[in-house]
């Protein structure tokens, strides 16, 4: 597929590095030998094995995360050439076709950096927790056959169920801003975790969680908690913070209809607010 004849022998990769949490970040340039069909993960593997910058300086290997290598786990999400995406499906030949110059890698900007390209996405999971993005089953005993789910319900819900919590929708959202807290010297891990969670709860929950609320509120058993989920979307940091920029839906690698979920949740919370008001 790729026309290798016109490809360079080598190409340069600029990486925004950071040695640890809250450390200052710095750019570093690496030269990688071109091979056909590389993706950004294989580029990072070459960079790690060389551990040497373009100027020949020995450096520690660049840190990154990956897992499935087929765009289903979301672990490798980073900002490639200015746009958030999965490194495992960012193909070098395509990147070169889009943009002649170097490849530029940055960690996601909306989450605290742990090291280099590795970020801490705790806030995303707190959002799912806050909005009860699960099916509550209150017994371990057999409950017989589950309710039937109609074809249309399945078709509505299946796309929403593909979310892999990668965070692309949050990275691109102008209303989702970074929250980074620093653990106090005498603060226990538990106390820090609690302080983080309560801070996250007041900040925008984001498109992925809003969409998960619509997924579970459309599930025949999970529906039982529908009102609590809507209430979580009406709490501070809820759906009202969305400013309809619609970047989330444009960048979601799973093509989840996030803005449809947002509008449906807007309608459901409107109804919920009015029924709550009149008791």
């Amino acid at each position: 597929m790729a026309d290798t004849s016109s490809k360079p022998d080598h190409f340069e990769v600029r990486v925004l590095r950071q040695d640890g949490p809250q450390a200052s970040s710095y750019w570093e340039r690496h030269r990688v030998r071109y091979e056909p069909d590389m993706n950004v993960i294989s580029v990072l593997q070459r960079i790690a094995s060389q551990s040497q910058t373009v100027d020949g300086k020995e450096v520690s290997p660049v840190a990154w995360e990956c897992n499935c290598l087929e765009e289903v786990c979301g672990a490798c999400t980073m900002v490639v050439n200015g746009r958030v995406r999965q490194a495992c499906t960012a193909l070098v030949d395509r990147l070169m076709a889009e943009q002649e110059s170097d490849i530029e890698l940055q960690p996601m900007s909306k989450f605290p950096v742990q090291r280099d390209l590795v970020v801490e996405r705790r806030r995303m999971f707190r959002g799912l927790e806050k909005s009860k993005a699960w099916v509550t089953v209150d017994t371990y005993g057999p409950m017989g056959a589950g309710p039937r789910i109609s074809q249309t319900e399945q078709e509505n819900n299946y796309p929403l169920s593909q979310c892999m919590s990668c965070g692309c929708c949050l990275e691109a959202c102008p209303q989702y801003t970074k929250v980074e807290l620093v653990q106090g010297d005498s603060e226990s891990d538990d106390a820090f975790a609690e302080r983080q969670d309560s801070t996250f709860d007041g900040e925008f929950v984001g498109a992925h969680a809003i969409s998960q609320v619509m997924l579970f509120n459309g599930h025949p058993i999970a529906k039982n908690d529908a009102n609590e989920r809507l209430d979580s979307l009406m709490a501070p940091g809820g759906i009202q913070v969305c400013g309809n920029a619609q970047n989330c839906v444009a960048v979601c690698p799973k093509e989840i209809p996030l803005t449809t979920s947002i509008a449906r949740a807007g309608r459901a919370t409107t109804v919920r607010a009015i029924t709550k008001f009149f008791g």
Binding site: G82, R83, K130, A172, P174, Q175, T177, D201, G202, E228, D231, S232, M234, A235, P236, G237, G238, I239, Q240, V241, C242, G243, N244, A245, Q246, N247, A250, V251, P257, T259, T260, I262, A263, R264, A265, G266, R267, A268, T269, T270, A273
Partner: protein
């Protein structure tokens, strides 16, 4: 998800406030703006027609300030000030993500800010915010020039006073119209009226058409004051004739007219109009 009572008011009531902000943009603020632009566009039917439209508004008499504050000024101030809170909560990123809807997100905020500055100044320039004759005399000295019973001529003079003022009105009208049209589209998503991409695309066409029509009306109104050439002495005479006739008919009192017409001792000289009046013959 009980919210701690210690949280600030703006945080505790975020959902309600955002919904009220959204609603206030359409009614009363947006609805008022449409009526206001249409009224102003009637200037093209002549100073007499426009004067009758203004008289209708002023027939509310002593309740007029109450109506203005309850249904126009306070809602605009609420929408505008809370709008600034909203603007401060976001971080536009059009450099990295230059999607059409994202550009509109940023334009909605930019046009909101322009609208805020424009409206604050515009009400001051034409109205003075409060009906108090001493205050009116004070601001008259520093630029306020509108006299409701000489509506067409004083508004025209005030807007044609300089190129900058004309330009400011142009920018202000365009920004307000864009803001309302784009706001109608986002509102439908906020409240859940159009949910699917197909529905949102259709709604976009409708909001765009409303915007185009409003822009036409708005620019017509703008041109009616900023560009229209007229025999201003004849228009002033007509306005004065209407005032005298209404006093005679007992519709208004001499005292009321005194505050709302161009002071007689300050006879209008041609220098008042200035050379900036385009094509005046």
């Amino acid at each position: 998800m009980a919210t701690k009572l210690s949280a600030p008011f703006l945080v505790r009531h975020e959902f309600l406030l955002r919904r009220l902000h959204s609603l206030s943009g359409l009614v009363p603020v947006g609805a008022y703006m449409v009526v206001h632009l249409i009224t102003n566009a009637t200037i093209w039917s002549g100073a007499g027609t426009f004067q009758r439209a203004v008289n209708q508004i002023h027939s509310l008499g002593p309740v007029l300030p109450l109506v203005e504050w309850a249904f126009i000024f306070l809602p605009i101030l609420f929408h505008g000030l809370y709008g600034i809170v909203i603007i401060r909560s976001g971080l536009p990123n059009n450099g990295s993500y230059s999607y059409f809807t994202n550009i509109r997100y940023t334009l909605q905020r930019a046009s909101g800010l322009i609208a805020f500055l424009f409206i604050m100044w515009h009400v001051f320039h034409m109205h003075g915010w409060i009906h108090n004759s001493q205050w009116r005399e004070f601001i008259e000295g520093i630029g306020g020039k509108f006299f409701p019973f000489n509506a067409a001529t004083t508004a025209t003079d005030a807007i044609q006073a300089s190129f900058l003022i004309r330009a400011a009105y142009f920018v202000g009208v365009v920004a307000c119209v864009f803001h309302l049209a784009n706001g109608i589209w986002t509102m439908g998503i906020t409240w859940g009226l159009w949910t699917t991409p197909e529905a949102q695309r259709k709604a976009n066409c409708v909001a765009g058409s409303i915007g185009a029509v409003l822009l036409g009306i708005g620019l017509l109104a703008w041109a009616g004051f900023a560009l229209r050439s007229s025999d201003s002495d004849a228009e002033r005479a007509l306005e004065n004739k209407i005032i005298d006739a209404r006093i005679e008919a007992g519709q208004i009192t001499e005292g009321e007219a005194k505050h709302k017409r161009v002071p007689t001792e300050k006879k209008r000289s041609s220098a008042d109009v200035g050379e900036t009046v385009l094509g005046e013959t």
